[in-house]
Amino acid sequence: MKRDDHRHLSDAELVRAADGEPGRWSRRARVHLEACDACRTRAARFENTIAELARAQRDGLDASLPPITSSRALLRARIAETSAPEASFSSRIRFSGGWLAGALGVAALVAVAAVAGVLAFRHSGARSENPVQSTADAGVLPNRDFTPGVARPVSLQEICALPHEQVVKEVSPAQRRRVFEEYGIPSERSGEYEVDYLIAPGLGGEEDIRNLWPEPYHSATWNAHVKDALEERLHQMVCSDQLDLAVAQKAISTDWIAAYRKYVKAPPSAVDGGSEL
């Protein structure tokens, strides 16, 4: 042991030794700790204090943490939402071939949009005959004529007594058949849809045909998982007095996608890597 190794370690050296950060000083700390009972005792005291604090933090809160299930589902839905619009309209137009090619590209896009508009207009005229649309995201919103949403009289206490995901009400086979008939969905295509509550039971939604609609599985963005996340969020807000129950019911029954955008989707704040606020 060198002469310097005999000097007792300072508190800062002991704390850094516990961190295991490599460096010249750590060699001296290691050598000294091996030989000095007093410093080992002090080092143990620091480490025990940290361990005790860690235990206190866990004991104090972990038992009251909500289950991770709904939180995980919500994050997945938000990530899906974040991934969906990969690029803005303008960023998709690449003018790599010069201004003429760019102009031609824009003209082509305008033409495609015009054709799509005509088709959409014609399709909307046929909606009363076939309420389920045929495009990729068709049916993600219910037909309000058939499904305006119905809630039962319910107290907050009743709603908030259970976590949202535990308030599950299976739709009876008879009700499912009626919903498919109403929406004109043939039985061979019924597997493509989930008969879902517009106003979720966890928000007081009633098992009434006016509150049930065939929600398509095929939508990549606005699917049942995303709606589940919205329901969970609204339930959480209602039960923490952040949102009135009637407002939540109205929002989800009027346009659940708009409600999702309002209550779930995080604002695009630049928090990553930013300085302390």
Binding site: D11, A12, V15, R16, D19, G20, E21, P22, R45, F46, N48, T49, I50, E52, L53, A54, R55, A56, Q57, R58, D59, G60, L61, D62, A63, S64, L65, P66, I68, S71, R72, L74, L75, R76, R78, I79, T82, S83, Q236, S240, A266, S269, V271, D272, G273, G274, S275, E276, L277
Partner: protein, 198 residues
């Protein structure tokens, strides 16, 4: 000597194993989502504890954690640095926690009122398995931590969640020396108040 863009051994040690094992080439959205969800499983509880320790109620803390991992997803999708990601995660959580606390005056009042003994998140009734003395000691420790300046609290709480010096420094945007100073000072105070029991 470390060159710009080169990862030092210490920083590599701070990298998360899952991410460090993957190639640096661009990863697909699905792969990044899997990474983010894995980290979410691992760090949700520590981040909830961290936010709650600053007086943020659990529902708000959940929202903070969601925002942290959404930000992480965007961060990784943009191909930004993966170095010291745990420090990065805690940095975002720390910033959002302070913002939330600042925004919520009611909570601030509760925290101020709570400068003495009780921890808001501790069940006041002693558990059957816990000894009264043990519990009192925990409460005393938490009360002391609450009375510390924010910076010292942050260092201590992150250390208690297992973060190393470099990660804490990144999370708080301070130097290693400052982390060392804050930790040494706050730990010494804890031990003093705890009557040297720790």
């Amino acid at each position: 000597m470390e060159r710009p863009g080169q990862t030092s051994p210490a920083e590599l040690a701070c990298d998360l194993p899952l991410l460090a094992s993957l190639p640096e080439a661009r990863r697909g959205a699905g792969e990044i989502e899997t990474e983010v969800m894995t980290l979410f499983e691992q760090y949700r509880a520590p981040l909830l504890r961290y936010a709650a320790a600053f007086g943020v109620p659990v529902p708000d803390a959940e929202e903070i954690v969601q925002e942290v991992f959404l930000s992480l997803y965007r961060h990784l999708r943009l191909g930004r640095s993966r170095r010291n990601l745990r420090g990065w995660i805690f940095r975002v959580a720390h910033n959002l926690t302070l913002r939330q606390r600042h925004a919520n005056k009611r909570l601030q009042e509760l925290v101020d009122r709570d400068s003495g003994i009780a921890d808001l998140h501790i069940d006041p009734s002693p558990g059957p398995e816990e000894s009264c003395a043990d519990r009192q000691r925990q409460q005393r420790l938490l009360a002391v931590v609450r009375s510390l300046p924010d910076r010292e609290q942050s260092c201590l709480r992150m250390r208690a969640e297992g973060l190393r010096y470099r990660e804490i420094a990144k999370a708080l945007g301070i130097s290693l020396g400052s982390v060392s100073m804050h930790l040494t000072r706050s730990l010494a105070r804890l031990i003093r108040v705890d009557g040297g029991q720790a």
